[in-house]
């Protein structure tokens, strides 16, 4: 079988069904949007005190009930009232920040100490990547040095040869 036919089969059997399922499942709803109250609610932390959920999703597990959290429902109603008054999203969020403090925002702010939270993952990634490249560079230099030391003409003992054979066998076996 040619490479082209092989790949075509793999596409048909593996990728195509995936593609079709993803399309059928997602295209129909690409234009739907959650309503504005819930969208704003998802930016606010539920202040029930027993969870880390948003006002739009809190179901207060472990409290004395499970179901739509009363505090979250109250917060959503407050958002509704402000929307009815014609307030903008930013104004509504500011109202909640004034009422509860910065803790009500579900995301850290991009100002003050909140910047540290956003910067941390980037710092980890940058430092980690630099470290990996540094390690790779060091290991490559070491490998080059060993290759140079073992240049042609050097005597290879049978023990060394056997050791090398065993190593090759180990490293090539998956």
């Amino acid at each position: 079988m040619t490479k082209r036919r092989l790949s075509a089969r793999i596409f048909l059997f593996c990728a195509l069904p995936l593609c079709v399922t993803a399309l059928r499942a997602t295209v129909a709803r690409a234009d739907d949007q959650p309503d504005r109250t819930h969208r704003i609610g998802k930016k606010l932390k539920c202040m029930c005190g027993g969870c880390n959920d948003t006002a739009a999703t809190c179901y207060h597990v472990g409290g004395n009930f499970s179901g739509p959290c009363g505090v979250a429902t109250g917060m959503l109603k407050e958002i509704d009232q402000q929307i009815d008054r014609g307030d903008s999203d930013d104004l509504i969020l500011q109202f909640f920040t004034q009422k509860y403090g910065s803790v009500v925002n579900i995301e850290p702010p991009h100002t003050g100490i909140g910047r540290i939270a956003w910067a941390m993952p980037v710092v980890y990634l940058v430092v980690g990547t630099l470290l990996v490249f540094f390690i790779i560079d060091r290991w490559r230099r070491r490998s080059a040095a060993v290759a140079f030391a073992g240049a042609p003409g050097e005597h290879v003992s049978p023990e060394l040869l056997e050791h090398a054979r065993q190593r090759v066998a180990r490293e090539t076996e998956d």
């Binding site: 092989l6 596409f11 995936l18 399309l23 295209v27 409290g63 003050g112 490559r140 070491r142």
Partner: protein, 686 residues
Amino acid sequence: MDVFGSFALLLAFLCAVYAFVGGIAAIRTRHPLLIKSARQAGIATCALIFLATGTLVYLFFSDSYWVAYVVAHSNRDLSNFYKVAALWSGQEGSLLFWSFLLSIYIFSVLIAYRHKNGELMPYVGVVLAGVQIFFLTLNNFVASPFKVLGVAGAHGTFDIFTRADGNGLTPLLQYPEMVIHPPNLYSGYTGFTIPFAFALGALLARYPGEKWIHLTRKWTMIAWCFQTVGILLGAHWAYAVLGWGGYWSWDPVENASLLPWLTGTAFLHSVMMQEKRGMMKVWNVWLVFTTFLLCILGTLLTRSGVVSSVHAFARSSIGGWFVGFLIVIFVVCFAAYAKNSDYLKSENRLDSIVSRESSFLFNNLILLVSCIAVLSGTLFPVFSEWLSNSRISVGAPFFNKVNVPIGLFLLFLTGVGPLLAWRRTSTESLKRNFGWPLIIGILTGVTLLIFGIREMFSLVCFSLCAFVTATIGMEFFRGARVIRSRSGASLFSSAVDLTMRNTRRYGGYIVHMGMVFIFIGLAGSAFNHDTQKEVKIGDSMRIGPYSLVLQSFDSIPEKNYTSERMIVEVMRDNKPLMMLYPERRFFQTNEQSGTMVAIYSTLREDLYVVYAGQSPETQLPVIHAYLNPLVKWIWLGGLVVVLGTIVTLLPNRRAVLVLSAAEQRADAAAVAQSLAPSATFREGHD
């Protein structure tokens, strides 16, 4: 019986202390009888913990309402099935259950290696006994599950007081998955103790070579598999019970379970570098130490209440003990490393950046960055309060923004890493292995874009899923085709044969395929949609292609609760499809309620229907309906991951040349001549 349980726990503590002290003495003196007695003390500790756990289970089944823990977590009407779950529903019982699962692992290790690895096992035994001493201290002196209710008698005596009934089990745990989710997760947490004990033991003993890695590989795989299943079962429980339409909310306790999983996954990959190339010895030892430390940290986060979590059942003042234990472990690990670091010297060399080694380095980088980012995000509210006196919330949107790009890069490496060669990958090999998968990935992305998908991360995720699926598919197809050409078997049988000949490699591919399924499910969450409506009987509401018609709404008294249940008919294209029964249960004993979500699940999407209570204004029942695309792929992916892990744990089959019957009758010379063209393969186990 409670006295019997208490006594068994106390005796277990004493045996563990003997196993620890006797083990150290045995290591110093090398006396064979002392080594044997320390090991037997370890086995006795486990047996006694089994007895204590069995006793507590018996107390639940016999409705012993003079035992405080039984009163707090059970009642007479509770079914026997959930009385088992009551064992780990509270602080004291869950700590005993932790000791119980740890004992199963330790018992298995001590029995399996009783005649092997004589130099290493005393060290391993001492480390395991040390961990057991900590948990038995909690079980005996801090959070005993066998405390009884009592009242002060007239003459200063203590009279045991028996309650007529218990408080009952929290409704959230009265769900079948809750009977298997905690045991799986705990088995993951406790299972990582075994590689930790072997790593620390090997370091302390300066045990030569990579043997400890070979010895612990299966244990690590088992622990990792339990952790994976535990996390997914927890996610499924949250999805099916809580009624908020999601499965992962980045709650601190959920994060705590993810942290050791991430480092454990990193270890399972980087360990291959040590096995194949003798590289990264220091890194691997510290990865194992870190994984175990994160298991303990996770328990600390769960139980201390230091961060606000929905898992309120776990809050207690026990955190200080775990902080102390963490410090002790870290000091011991660091001291062992400082003393024996020369033993971990390795020949780290790399021929090319385009190699399997590099891909493992990046894999470890990504997993570790994700782990540290999740950890720092989880603890950030506490730090912010310390630093600025104002608590800053770090919720799901933050974790999603940070982890989605990381996850996508990891998915990319899942496709690339296994097909890169050790040491160096040639350009020709790159073209051969990745040319078509890359085209397939790009084509998938372009097709989805043309059909209107605009969610960038989902688009990239689907493309990468197609890419990884193609790389894995090609690997199986190429190998199976070679076997088919020699054996004449079908392509599927040849693929199975191929897998069984190198279970570790092809089992690994199956695990990767499971992860692809999980990513498909996660990518679908960008298209979740929900709507809510008050409905009268006969009213309908629409969501996506479905119409929901309320057929009835009533209240039904059951043995342990009262159910408010809706019967909702689901129509699609004006044709009846099925009936759904969302309900809310009110448990009279503890005056709590629980949601029972009704889900119509297909590979394409989940129709998720919640009875959201009655409207306070109109008293009409409210239906909250969600349409969640592709969720089923996550649970399916979990099953595939388990299947792949089981395959990796199987021994390789060896291909054996077996002659056909006709050839057996022929003489030796004829056989020799006919061998090459007509030989067939049969398998035999190693």
